[in-house]
Structure formats: C-alpha cells, structure tokens
Amino acid sequence: MTEADKPGQKQDRGRLCIDGEECKGCGLCIEACPPRVIAMSEPLNHYGYRTAIYAGAGCTGCGVCFMACPEPGAITVYRLVNAPGPGARSAQVAVEEASACAGS
C-alpha cells in the first residue's frame, strides 16, 4: 500500500503497474510520462534488462506511458473511479479524457 492509498490523504488520480519481466527497459515511457513519475531500475530483471519502475506516487492515470510502450502488457494504468466528491468519474470517461489530453 502506498502513501497515497492511506485514508484521509489525497489519493493520486492514477496508478501504474509495470511488469518487470515483460519490460525491456527501452525508456520510452520515462520519456513520455508527463508528471515524470517513472524511472529506470538499478537491478536487472531475470533477462538482464534494467526495467522501468513506478516512483510510487504522482501518477495522473493519463495513459500516455501505456501508449508509448512497445510491449502489449508491460504497463497497466489505473484510474481513480467512484471516489466521492467532484473527482468521481467512470473508467471509460477517464480513458477518453486521457486520450483527448495527450492528443491535443
């Protein structure tokens, strides 16, 4: 559980999961990430690649890293949904927003 998940604190709008065995460490997601919350790991993975890792906080759930990544399933992007209050939105709305934002 990250800091952001703790009750009573402001939750990040997004969250990122990177599969360290599928990632080849090309770094395109690091270059692409608008809030700069992805970095390269120091340790090598099972196949000898340094891989992208999520900094653990600050993801906006925009999905840009996913689109920049050449591997089909190395990155999964989550978005905060059903949060009470003005930030609430469905997953579908969230992804459409993200597309519109990055493509504009």
Binding site: D5, Q11, C69, P70, T76, V81, G87, A91, A98, A102
Partner: protein, 488 residues
C-alpha cells in the same frame, strides 16, 4: 477538500483483449514480444489491437502478416491469422475479403515489403478500392535482414547496401507511398502518422482506429503509414530514435491526411445491392449445362449402318469464317449423334493472317483430333490451298474458292470443286457468307449429315435471324453448285 473514504482504482489502459495473454506460438519468452527494445512495431500492434477491441470485431478479424520484422503478427494477435509471402499481403487480403466479406481484414506491412517487392500489389489493391485496412510501418530500412537500403531510405542515409549513404543519382529518392496512392480515385482514406512523440502517437492510434472503422462500415480501402523508429538498425537509443522520427523522418515524409472520401462513401455503402447466392440446383442452368435445356433432338437415323469417318481441314484468311464453318459442321455432327472434334489453329492468326481448323465426324470415338490427311479440304484462298493440297487423301476432295483450280495442284485421285464462292455469296447479298456456300457444297458432296442437324446447328451458333436465313440460302446455293457440277 480530500474526502474521508478512498475511491477505487480501475484499469484504464491495459493489455488489449485482442492480444494473446501468453504468446504460445513463440519458441520461448512467451511473455514478451520478439521486438527489440523501443521498436515501433509493438506500439503499432497495440494500436491495432485496441482498435479491434473498441470496434468489437475480434472474432471477425483476419490479420495478414508480412515478411520482415512484423512477420510474427500471429504470435500476438488473438484473431484469425494468415502469413503472406513478401510483399503479397494486399493480394492475399484482397482474396480473403472478397470471399469472406463479413470478415475484417488487416494487412500489416513494412516499407521493404510494401514499397519495394510489393509495390504492384499495394498499388492495385488500392486502385481496386478493396475494402481492407492496411497498416504500413515505415522505418526507412530493411531491419530484419540487417539494415539494407529500402525505397524509403533517406537520401544520404547509410545502410549496409548504401555504405556511403543513399545517393539520389544512382539510388533515386525516398518513395512517398501515401502521396502516390492518393492520386488514385478508389481509396477511401490515406493518412501518414508518426511515433515521434506523445501527440503523434495518440494521433496514430486514432488514425488506425478510423481506418479499421472504415472497413467495418464498408467504406473501402484505408491505409495508414506509420513513421516508426528502429533503434537497433539506426544505432540509436530508443529515445534518440523516437526523436529522429520527429526531427528527421517527418521532414521527408509529411504527416497528415492525404485522401479522405469517407463521407461520400458512407452514402454509397448503404446503397450497395446485396444479391443472394443462387441455389445449388440452379447452377447447371446458369452455366448452360443443364441437360433439359438442350434441344432434345434424337440421334438422326440417317443412312443407318453406313460407316462415317469424315476428316476435314478448313483453311483461309482470318475473317472468312473458317472457324465458324468448322463449328457448324461439328455441331451438326454432334446433333446427328456422331462423335466429333473441332480443333482450331489459334493465336495471332485469330486476329489476322491465316486461319485453319481440323474437324472430324465419326461413328466411333475419335482418336486424334488432328487431321493430318483430310478427306475434304476447304480452301478459301490460294495460299491455303497450296499449304494443304498435298495432304489431301487420294480419292478425297478439294473445295476451292477460285474460278480456276491451279493446274500444278491438280493430281490423279484428287476431286476438285473450284468456284468463285465469294462472288457467288455476294450475289446472295453478303460475300461473308462464302463459308456457308462452301459448307453447302461439302454437305452435298459427303452426304453424311441430315439437313435437320444443320438447321439445329445454325440455330445454336448464329444468333441473328437475318444471318440464319442468309446462311440457309447460302447452304442451298452450295448444294446446287455441286449438283450442277455433276450434271455438267
């Protein structure tokens, strides 16, 4: 203000359903692609898979894979997969789509595959307006074979086959596929996109989705060219390669929409008639081979018991009706219950120069349809006579279209009927009927066929009633000529 209760996280970007979860067709490393780190192919694959998901066409989709780095589309896409020969994906896709119009057919090609060896196939698939979607990944190089020059290689760019850089004077200029294809009238949608930065990437995803949607809506041929990084062969880091797409490739290959006829097509696609396939039982009738369709003329019982083995050679100039004369003879023979064969000389002779055919009529199965030694030679001019007169069997006949039979062609045992048949036909009102006057003489001389069979044959082969009437008079005139020659 932050709220007290936590919201939930839902995946908004994840592996597309149209990808396999594990790549079991790969030899090993089934959890990742075979592409090099930073390769644009994977990014394009994801855009296609997402578009298939979004349009809900996974079950209907057939991916036609290329030769090159994109060859293993079937490792990844959980759709129907057909792997094509180098450059031929548009031809393969054409046939799949034509025979399975409900399927969604995607051609995936690289720049060597599409713009070099497959240049003809993509041009003509586009020009036919095939309702397929082509994704063209352009990285300006042959990557899988190790970095040879492609038609899309930039001027000055080094490759293993342009070691000093592409020289426009000897190797020409980069081929602009979108610009070329957009001169055609048939394509529905052609756009070039890039993978040079976030903005380009999202535009590329939209374009690919649109190209696929066009097919789903039946709008016609769509092609998306994607400027794509190849860090390995370009000898750059993935990030450098991405920047090179944006900073260098894009200058040579302008991004944008080159052709968009989707609005006009959206109307016409709805108006296209749908004709159901004919019933199986109807096929013989449609093909004209249903047996009941044929006139049920019984074998004509004429001169029963008489041995018939008529071997005829008919020769003349193209346009004199040589082949038709033979055809009427053979058709009438068949009508009369005989075995028949008709064999033409074919080729350029059909269009000009000499023409001849072999016709055999027999009570028995015909061994050779080639008439080496005819019983009757119908020679419609002197060159044809001189070509074949020596081959006529002793005791046989020459029906010659000429007032005088050349003396040096005459020999013992050769029967001759020489008349100016063309002039005689002209007197009947049509000199082109000379062939039928000569056929009339042949029928009278040989006596092997009843008039009813000739009538049937003419009815079947000559569609214009005026000509049937004329041909009948011509045949009668020919018969008279032979009778007259006997009396004379």
């Amino acid at each position: 203000m932050p709220t007290e209760s936590a919201g939930e996280y839902a995946p908004v970007q994840s592996r597309a359903r149209s990808f396999y979860g594990r790549y079991e067709r790969k030899e090993d490393l089934e959890h990742q692609t075979h592409f090099c780190p930073g390769c644009g192919h994977g990014i394009v694959h994801k855009m296609i898979a997402r578009a298939i998901d979004d349009l809900g066409v996974q079950d209907r989709t057939i991916m036609v894979g290329p030769v090159g780095c994109g060859v293993f589309t079937y490792y990844y896409f959980d759709v129907g997969n057909v792997q094509a020969a180098h450059g031929r994906a548009p031809a393969v896709a054409t046939a799949i789509k034509r025979s399975r119009p409900e399927s969604i057919v995607i051609g995936y090609q690289g720049d060597g595959d599409l713009s070099a060896i497959g240049a003809a196939e993509i041009l003509h698939a586009a020009n036919r307006g095939e309702n397929i979607t082509v994704v063209f990944v352009n990285n300006a190089i042959y990557s899988m074979t190790g970095g040879q020059a492609a038609p899309t290689t930039l001027v000055g760019m080094k490759s293993t086959t342009t070691p000093n850089g592409r020289n426009a004077a000897t190797e020409g200029y980069p081929l602009h596929v979108c610009e070329l294809l957009s001169t055609l009238q048939a394509p529905a949608y052609i756009e070039r996109v890039g993978l040079g930065d976030n903005k380009q990437i999202w535009q590329a995803a939209r374009a690919i989705r649109r190209a696929l949607a066009n097919q789903v809506h039946g709008l016609g041929f769509s092609l998306i060219e994607v400027l794509s990084p190849c860090p390995t062969i370009w000898k750059m880091t993935p990030v450098e390669a991405q920047r090179w797409v944006r900073g260098v490739m894009e200058n040579e290959f302008r991004l944008g929409v080159f052709c968009d006829r989707t609005n006009e097509r959206a109307v016409s696609a709805d108006l296209r008639p749908v004709t159901p396939d004919p019933a199986l039982d109807d096929l013989p009738r449609i093909l004209g081979v249903a047996r009941e369709r044929l006139p049920g003329s019984e074998a004509q019982a004429f001169t029963p018991g008489r041995e018939i083995d008529l071997e005829v050679r008919i020769a003349g100039f193209g346009g004199q009706g040589v082949l038709l004369l033979g055809e009427v003879l053979a058709e009438a023979g068949l009508d009369a219950g005989l075995e028949v064969s008709w064999l033409p000389s074919y080729g350029p002779e059909m269009r000009s120069g000499t023409s001849n055919c072999h016709v055999r009529l027999s009570r028995h199965a015909i061994d050779s349809p080639l008439v080496a030694s005819p019983v009757v030679l119908v020679a419609m001019n002197e060159p044809s006579l001189r070509k074949f007169d020596r081959s006529v069997r002793s005791g046989g006949w020459v029906i010659y279209n000429g007032r005088e039979f050349p003396a040096d062609c005459a020999r013992d045992g050769l029967n001759v009927l020489a008349r100016p048949f063309t002039e005689l036909a002209d007197e009947l009102g049509e000199k082109r009927a000379a062939n039928m006057v000569m056929l009339g003489a042949l029928l009278e001389i040989t006596g092997v066929l009843p008039q009813a069979s000739i009538d049937h044959a003419l009815a079947r082969l000559v569609k214009n009633p005026r000509w049937v009437e004329l041909d009948q008079r011509a045949l009668a005139r020919g018969r008279e000529l032979y009778q007259g020659s006997r009396e004379g």
